[in-house]
């Protein structure tokens, strides 16, 4: 150990990649995609460079909330096998460093987004970071098995921010894009929880599969999927929807709903017998589901450039 590292709390020196891992890059990719769609489907064109900076700010803001989440949840992460290798529990990054990076990047992304575009978009980004850190991580996550339901809102804001970047406002279209991700998160996550053996219980985090049992979780998957369908179809009737989106939505919702019904009809014996084949399938379908819906919105926007998108032609 040198004189320069004597006061370092981390046991090994952090590389650039460790700081990048703090930003949860995999979550960031979904945020970037949905925010970009929100920005591109809006009826107001945005200068490409301003659009690029806006998406960068949203991505950095999402990354900052990831770093703050890792700082707060370091004790839980250290207990669970899946997260024990993260930069803080593994000792590569000190908790204070993660906090500093999270706070600095939050301030940077919010301020730059406000200056580059508008302050409604910046306020929405600030609220998203606040929601993820305070409402989800600090309050709900350790308190209720419904944590994923309300906490999912944090992941649902990006398309709304993208829309606000372009239009400077909030509208029924952006609210429905928010609602689509918000309602999609619980069945997506619980389908995963049904086939992944987690150690949330050991870490003191209440998960529906452990607090209310797997049958209750199966019912929840079905109910939330049923609630998701009208939101997804309703979005198709707004100014950013159209026949292409509607066709995709009908197919994907029928597919997802069939999977949710299949899950609801099963019991633990059936799951063990086929090694959670249905649950794994539904989880995969849920990923295609979100990608297809936002992809279809993008296709409608592209068709609109040629006078073909939407319901008007």
């Amino acid at each position: 150990m040198t004189d320069f590292s004597a006061n370092n709390h981390a046991t090994t020196e952090a590389e650039m990649g460790d700081y990048f891992a703090l930003l949860k890059p995999r979550v960031m990719s979904l945020v970037v995609f949905t925010a970009l769609v929100g920005l591109l489907v809006a009826p107001v064109p945005v200068h490409p460079f301003l659009g690029f900076v806006a998406i960068l700010c949203i991505a950095v803001g999402a990354g900052a909330s990831g770093a703050l989440n890792m700082w707060w949840d370091a004790d839980i992460d250290a207990v669970m096998k899946r997260t024990a290798g993260r930069p803080i529990p593994s000792g590569r990054v000190a908790p204070g460093e993660a906090l500093g990076i999270g706070v600095a990047l939050s301030g940077f992304s919010i301020l730059l987004l406000g200056l580059a575009t508008n302050f409604l978009a910046a306020a929405l980004l600030a609220f998203t970071i606040f929601f993820y850190l305070v409402v989800y991580s600090m309050w709900l996550k350790r308190a209720t098995p419904q944590n994923i339901v309300i906490g999912g809102a944090a992941g649902a804001f990006p398309p709304m921010i993208g829309w606000a970047v372009a239009t400077g406002g909030v509208s029924i279209e952006s609210l429905l894009m928010f609602a689509l991700i918000f309602m999609w998160t619980p069945p997506h996550f619980w389908a995963l929880a049904l086939f992944v053996k987690s150690d949330y219980g050991r870490a003191g985090v209440p998960m529906l599969t452990e607090t209310h049992g797997r049958d209750a979780t199966r019912r929840h998957v079905l109910v939330y999927t049923l609630l998701l369908v009208p939101v997804a179809l309703g979005l198709g009737l707004t100014s950013i929807g159209g026949p292409v989106y509607m066709a995709v939505a009908v197919v994907m919702n029928a597919w997802f709903l069939k999977g949710a019904v299949d899950i609801w009809r099963r019991d633990d014996a059936a799951c063990e017998a086929d090694r959670h084949r249905v649950e794994i399938n539904v989880f995969k379908v849920s990923l295609y589901y979100l990608f297809a819906h936002f992809g279809a919105l993008l296709a409608e926007a592209a068709l609109r450039l040629y006078g073909l998108g939407g319901w008007s032609w």
Partner: protein, 67 residues
């Protein structure tokens, strides 16, 4: 003899230093690009030149007198 002030810390932190350098360069590029785009979006620059509190008749659009 070449004077070299080298410490093992320099080698150890090479990746981090390069990363920070790249981030700073990226930040400068973003601020520069934003400035260019924002200024280009201002429109006719002559409207700002008239705000210097000194009368400059040459900037006032000439109008033909219609009889």
């Amino acid at each position: 003899m070449v004077i070299r002030v080298e410490h093992e810390l320099h080698e150890r932190r090479k990746g981090r230093n390069a990363g920070v350098g790249l981030l700073l360069a990226g930040f400068i590029a973003i601020v520069f690009g934003l400035t260019v785009v924002k200024v280009m979006q201002l429109g006719d620059i002559r409207q700002f030149e008239t705000f210097d509190h000194a009368p400059r008749p040459q900037l006032i659009p000439q109008t033909e007198v219609v009889e």
